[in-house]
């Protein structure tokens, strides 16, 4: 029985995470998905003014579907990561449900991890559903676009290998593995934001404060790499240390910008994906440790 109460018991974390997940589901978070469906299917019917040559017509439509879908995924994942995470802890303190949980043999680290994985699971499931919807719509439209392009190219009398290479280019704009990679990067970015919100909510007791500061940190995160460059450029060792501290305290979200490149049809390199995953893991460990340090000393 004794070993049961060491921190990091997967079963107990699983119970807490599953509970957090259900709690959020019953708060009707998934209604967001219906809205998403409307937006994606709406983007599908956009009649975009086209300036492209007839043999590459329809490409804008594929871009538009991807852009709106990934944009919605980003927005959804960031909002849920900040708001849901920021809501959970203060709510437990306010409702005193925290007393009853911590009065059971539950290490505080497990409690925090349970909240983290619950929100992460919710975002993962939502992104998976959105991804499925986006990929379906894309695949559907891609078939039509390819046929149209082939017909146009053949009418112009292009040589077959040219036609094939052009169609391959178009195919890269469809539901590729690359695109799935980009959605995964959206998820990784959400993980960092959950960690930030969790850390914030360990020392604030107000949801509003957590939400506002959380969004601020996200906002700064998108620009801080530029700021860092401007500040610490050519300042030597001290500057590099300062720069390192800054990226640790405030997460650098610019590294997740390779999502945009993928939408453009560029290839997502395995190494880049690995690098981003590594950075995410680093932020996860640093922020969770910091949250635990604050939370372990907290009194209720």
């Amino acid at each position: 029985m004794k070993t049961l109460h060491r921190p990091l018991n997967p079963r107990r974390i699983g119970v807490l995470a599953f509970h957090t997940f259900t709690q959020l589901v019953r708060m009707k978070v998934f209604y967001f998905l219906a809205l998403f469906a409307v937006i994606v299917i709406g983007a599908n019917f956009l009649e975009l003014p086209t300036h492209a040559a007839p043999e590459s017509s329809g490409v804008e439509l594929l871009y538009a579907i991807k852009n709106t879908s990934i944009g919605c995924m980003s927005l959804f994942s960031i909002v849920i990561a900040v708001v849901a995470t920021g809501l959970l802890l203060p709510k437990d303190v306010e409702d005193r449900t925290l007393y009853t949980i911590l009065a059971k043999p539950v290490p505080r680290l497990d409690y925090l991890l349970g909240k983290f994985f619950g929100v992460a699971a919710l975002i993962f499931v939502s992104l998976a559903v959105m991804d499925l919807l986006m990929s379906g719509v894309l695949a559907l439209r891609l078939g039509g676009v390819l046929e149209q392009q082939r017909a146009a190219a053949e009418a112009f009398g292009y040589p077959p290998d040219l036609i094939e290479s052009q169609l391959a280019e178009t195919r890269a704009l469809g539901p590729t593995w690359n695109l799935q990679g980009a959605v995964f990067v959206v998820f990784l970015r959400a993980i960092v934001i959950i960690c930030v919100a969790l850390l914030l909510s360990t020392f604030s007791t107000s949801t509003l404060f957590t939400a506002i500061v959380g969004f601020l940190v996200v906002f700064i995160g998108f620009f801080q790499a530029d700021a860092r460059e401007a500040y610490f450029q050519g300042t030597g060792v001290l500057g590099r240390i300062g720069s390192a501290i800054m990226t640790t305290v405030l997460p650098d979200l610019q590294i997740y910008n390779l999502i945009d490149a993928v939408i453009e049809g560029k290839v997502l390199k395995a190494l880049d994906l690995l690098k981003v995953a590594g950075v995410t893991l680093f932020y996860f460990i640093v922020y969770t440790f910091a949250s635990w340090l604050v939370f372990a000393r907290k009194e209720f």
Partner: protein, 283 residues
């Protein structure tokens, strides 16, 4: 012998907020509870009862002094294995039903499978919430919440149960059920540490009582010893004719040094009257 609860010289000072003065909520309180006993902590509002209980559960860290549960320090997670806690004014997750709530807490204690199912059924029966088991807690009344809280505290069959005002907001019928439950726990050798403002109930169930005032323990001891008025004796008679009463009066008057303090009809309590008119009538 290992004490069920051992609080030694507990001091808890809450730091000042916004220029106020620090609050000395608990001041050198020591409490020892032997296994199997029912201990009642009583005192006015804000005297530090809840704070003492929270320190015992590791929810607040003592400023100085130590708290132990069956020998394990309260700051260690292991100490919470053998204890069930019902906080004051409990609110649980509104989105869970009664049965789901018990399942959640049971799983946190490491229970699972058939054993957990059986335990949930048993406890819902015990606290009389079987009809409401699938209703969400958002729709529970205060007394129902209190009872689901009690069930939650008992989920892993702990050896020590800590109850912070278990009968607050519960109607007299429910509060009698809770009293009977506490007596049943004592019967099974489970230690109970409770605090309450209903002194009559404390008197009915507790072996030991401590009176706490402004964070300090003022009186502590066995209830019988504390309540007995050493130089008085009570006689309660039924269907005594007036002549008999007169006779007794005369005897007392003629005895040396004895004095009749009071004679008359004992009153029933409002609680007993309420119960007689409601439950006992229904039965």
């Amino acid at each position: 012998m290992e004490h069920a609860v051992e609080i030694e010289n507990l001091v808890k000072v809450f730091p000042a907020h916004f220029g106020g003065r620090p609050v000395r909520a608990v001041d050198r309180v020591s409490i020892r509870i032997e296994p199997g006993q029912v201990y009642g902590l009583i005192g006015p509002n804000g005297s530090g009862k809840s704070t003492t209980m929270k320190a015992l559960l590791g929810l607040v860290a003592p400023t100085s002094g130590t708290c132990r549960i069956f020998g394990a320090d309260s700051l260690a997670v292991d100490s919470r294995e053998q204890v069930g806690f019902l906080p004051e004014n409990p609110y649980f997750y509104k989105h869970l039903s009664g049965a789901e709530t018990l399942r959640f807490y049971g799983k946190l204690c490491g229970l699972r499978g058939k054993a957990l199912d059986a335990r949930i059924d048993e406890l819902l029966e015990l606290v009389d919430l079987n009809d409401a088991r699938d209703r969400r807690l958002g729709g529970y009344s205060k007394g129902m919440l209190q009872r689901i809280g009690l069930a939650q505290a008992l989920i892993q069959e702990p050896r020590l149960v800590i109850l912070d005002e278990p009968t607050a907001g519960v109607d007299p019928i429910g509060s009698r059920q809770i009293r009977d439950l506490i007596l049943a726990l004592r019967e099974r050798g489970i230690t109970v540490f409770l605090c309450s403002h209903l002194l009559e109930q404390v008197q009915e169930v507790c072996d030991q009582v401590g009176i706490i005032f402004r964070g300090r323990m003022i009186r502590e001891g066995r209830l019988e010893d504390m309540l007995a008025i050493e130089d008085q004796t009570e006689l309660v008679l039924r269907d005594a004719p007036p002549e008999l009463v007169d006779e007794i009066r005369r005897l007392v008057a003629s005895a040396d040094g004895a004095e009749l303090v009071r004679a008359g009809k004992p009153r029933t309590t409002l609680e007993r009257l309420f119960l007689r008119e409601t439950v006992d009538r229904a039965e």
